[in-house]
């Protein structure tokens, strides 16, 4: 007499509570994986777009946004930018800039656009920035001969070899335009070999 007692229980397929609990755990894992995957799925990376508009190893002004040509989405017409694309796989990069007041920002981005190093301008105080961008995992300590490269610079070890430096200045109107452009033009970015 094969399982006549089990028969009523097995007449219809059941959805097990264990399945639902496992599905919720699975949803959590998928949620975390997708959140970290979105940046890699983007086909509209800001760094790629800026890099395509710039020569390498030089700090250049980005064009003001217009309907015919805009380097990156939501690029404010209220700001001026200079940017430099770099590749630290062959040389360290020495970057200098000055942030004359609040509202100015200096940022170093990796190839995915993540901010690696950020400095913001201070109210009524000039902030001079000197940064040496290094290949992943490298760090010049004082005892090594390479350390003289880094003298006077803050060292930033990049997570990848490529990226961009961006200096942003808020536009405060025509009266300040020339002053802001002159300040931005002083920013520099160049490879530094031993």
């Amino acid at each position: 007499m094969a399982d006549t007692t089990d028969e009523p229980r097995r007449r219809y397929p059941r959805l097990r509570l264990r399945t639902l609990l496992l599905a919720l755990i699975g949803a959590g894992i998928v949620h975390i994986c997708m959140t970290f995957t979105w940046p890699y799925l983007s086909t509209n990376a800001a760094v790629d777009r800026i890099a395509a508009a710039l020569p390498p190893d030089v700090m250049r002004a980005l064009p003001q946004p217009s309907p015919d040509g805009q380097v990156m989405p939501f690029q404010g017409p209220d700001s001026s930018y200079v940017a430099c694309k770099f590749n630290v796989s062959e040389a360290a990069y020495a970057v200098r800039a000055t942030l004359p007041e609040a509202g100015w920002t200096f940022s170093v981005h990796d190839a995915r656009g993540d901010s690696v190093y950020v400095v913001t301008g201070q109210d009524q105080r000039r902030t001079d920035i000197a940064v040496l961008l290094l290949p992943p995992g490298e760090w010049f300590v004082g005892l090594l001969p390479e350390a003289r490269l880094a003298a006077g610079f803050a060292q930033v070890s990049m997570p990848g070899s490529k990226g961009i430096v961006l200096v942003r200045a808020p536009n405060k109107g025509l009266a300040y335009k020339a002053e802001i452009e002159a300040e931005l033009a002083k920013a520099s970015c160049m490879p530094r070999r031993q």
Partner: protein, 241 residues
């Protein structure tokens, strides 16, 4: 009466069919057949149950996982954003220690926002009633209390491109807006020219407003942080075509 008579005559003409014995219930099938039927039923039910459970697992794990991640990255949550009316601010935008949702949000958009420690970039995609901003409608933005040296209010289409217009006007700022005597301001968003502060939205379809202003000092008091949201304009729909 005639109909009843005809019915009786028809019944009388029909041959009498023998009564069939009732079908035996499944439980009373011969002993060799019953276990086989039960086994087949158990196998079928088991297979359907497996398919159902695997299906529910896949749909819930993938569907809910991807959907919830998308919502957190696209719209943000109280963990990652601050809101004031229709305006949304990603609190950790442009910072090296930004959370994964903020990083994914800006990577997906393809923009490099300024650090939120220096600049607050507020976005509005809907009016104060929660309706999506659209160029077929006209809006009035009304606010006051913007006392910073610089700030700007810009309008972009849904893809983040400035909207083409004959006036080449894409934003208002501290130096270009016309303020009222009491420091308040009204900006009209419309396809066609309007008196006063007018931002053209012609032909954009859905559009996005972006307001950029200085962030409060790092050691700001609670009152200063609260004041940082002052001046964000109310967004009121006037009419739609």
């Amino acid at each position: 009466m005639a109909f009843d008579t005809m019915k009786a005559m028809a019944r009388a003409r029909l041959p009498k069919l023998p009564k069939l014995p009732p079908l035996p219930p499944i439980r009373s099938l011969p002993g060799a057949v019953q276990p086989a039927v039960s086994q087949i039923r158990a196998i079928v039910v088991g297979a359907i149950e497996t398919i159902l459970n695997v299906g529910v697992f896949v749909v819930v794990a993938l569907g809910f996982g991807i959907w919830s991640s998308w919502i957190m990255v696209e719209r943000g949550s109280s963990l990652t954003t601050r809101t004031s009316g229709a305006w949304v601010l990603w609190s950790n935008a442009g910072r090296p220690d930004a959370d994964p949702y903020t990083r994914a949000h800006f990577a997906r958009i393809g923009s490099l926002p300024p650090s939120s420690t220096a600049v607050h970039t507020w976005e509005a995609r809907s009016d104060d009633d929660g309706q999506r901003l659209h160029s077929s409608c006209e809006y009035a933005l009304q606010g006051d209390g913007l006392d910073a040296d610089w700030w700007s209010l810009a309008v972009f289409d849904d893809r983040g491109t400035v909207i083409r217009n004959r006036a080449d006007r894409y934003a208002y700022g501290a130096s270009t807006i016309a303020l009222g005597p009491d420091g308040s301001y009204i900006v009209t968003l419309a396809r066609d020219a309007r008196p006063g502060n007018w931002l053209p939205t012609g032909g954009a379809g859905r559009f996005v407003l972006v307001m950029t202003r200085p962030a409060p000092r790092p050691n700001a008091t609670a009152a200063e942080i609260q004041a940082a949201t002052r001046g964000l304009p109310a967004i009121r729909r006037i009419a739609c075509r």
